[in-house]
């Protein structure tokens, strides 16, 4: 009789220990889920803020700069369009493109710029990795050499530099 009571107590204690353990595991999992959802949201927010800052300075980089502040060299950019070397050069961006004045506001029918279509085109797609993304943009000056009636001059137009940031960052 005494033995049976002892066994019962051990069983009770074992069940209690298992229950306490499971409670902490579940509580931990719940905490991690809440934490990771917050992290994901703040990561996307940070990436967006970072992207906005980047646009302001990107135009000054060796690949884009026309030698003046916030100015992009359109003739140099043609070689960058869909250039595989640059596909992963900016790892935080999902896509990078420059939309010419003629393409701003258009959602379809944009003609991509490349050696064959240039200068009669609307958009330079530097790269687009095709992932789920959210975009941010800024206006820049896009300059290129133009020849009219035998006179060569630098023609500048307004353009939109657009950066895509991945939504599935983490």
């Amino acid at each position: 009789m005494k033995n049976k009571r002892g066994q019962l107590k051990i069983q009770e204690m074992a069940f209690m220990l298992v229950a306490v353990f499971l409670f902490f595991v579940l509580a931990g999992l719940f905490f991690m889920a809440v934490l990771s959802s917050g992290i994901q949201k703040s990561a996307v927010d940070i990436e967006m803020k970072k992207a906005s800052g980047v646009i302001a300075n990107l135009a000054g980089s060796a690949e884009f700069s026309c030698g003046k502040p916030n100015c992009v060299d359109g003739d140099k950019l043609v070689g960058m369009a869909r250039n595989d070397d640059y596909r992963f050069f900016w790892p935080t961006f999902e896509s990078l493109s420059i939309i010419r004045e003629s393409g701003i506001g258009k959602s379809t029918g944009l003609i991509e710029c490349n050696i064959a279509t240039y200068p009669n085109c609307d958009e330079y797609v530097i790269f687009d990795r095709g992932g789920n993304k959210t975009t941010t943009s800024s206006f820049i000056a896009l300059c290129r050499l133009e020849k009219e009636n035998g006179i060569k001059y630098e023609k500048c137009e307004m353009a939109k530099l657009e950066i895509g940031v991945s939504k599935d960052e983490i």
């Binding site: 002892g6 970072k50 060796a62 690949e63 003739d75 140099k76 070689g79 050069f89 900016w90 790892p91």
Partner: protein, 324 residues
Amino acid sequence: MKNKKAIEMSFNWLFSIIAGIVILSLAIYGATKVIDTGTQIVSTESAAKLTAFLDPAQSGIAYGQVSPPIEFNKEVRLEFSCNLDDNPPFGKQSLRFAEESFGKISEFSYPIDIVNNYVFSENVLEGKKIYVYSKSFNLPFKVADMILLSTEQYCFVNAPRFVENDLENLKNVNFTNDIDDCGDIKSVCFQGTGSGSTSECHTIVKDGSNKNLFTVGSVEKDGGSVYYYDNLIYPAIMSSEENYECNLKRLMNKFIVVSNLYLDKISILEKNGCGSTVAGRLNEMISAANSFEDSLDLESRKLVSKAKEVERENPKTACKLYDI
């Protein structure tokens, strides 16, 4: 029954004690692991933030500026490594971060990749304050921004005027004409024609122009020697030989890619009736950069002289290829 003075303990008590010890041990082990992982996560986050800060495009620290030093509350250790095989054709650097915790430096964080920046420094930096300086690498057009990081104090002896002007706001560099003023600080002596003995100097910067211009030359330190050209003089002085040579090769890879953009631009300009004599020189430079092994090749493969020719010809062509 004879009293053996033993402690009588029921099975319940025994079981509770053993189970308690096991649970407590697991909890302590788990907590230690969580703290360790937490420290490493914080260090990795710090490394990532630092990497973002070092991106000129993100922070605007570039363009020949002396930026305010990066200050930490605790002693930190940064470890840079460079790899040419990953992330072709540009190569990449990795940064690992560790900080002082309970009086000792914690474990290094996970490595954070630096793919589109060129950070010149010693292999390991230690301190609470990191001095930042940046300059562009031009060959002759702008190829990339170089970022220099240092924690040490430097004493520049007989430095040319342009170096004094460039670094006058960098707080960890002092200028003097007498090496005795340097004391224990790392001395960097500029050895041009007519300069005195450099036997006591830690680093010797030699002029290769023979006119004390220090536009080309070599830097000798720690038993090694590297070649510099133009703005590369600063990374040659302040970074390790391994870091300098690896980053220079990365810059050469970037030069090839950017040069090809210019060749495309030349073909577009030609359609507009703007012939260019620069294309031939540029192709020669690309093939020299393709077989680039170390900094000596800047001179031996005539990259510097060809860059100077392109620089001279660029303004003379009907349509300028680049504006710095």
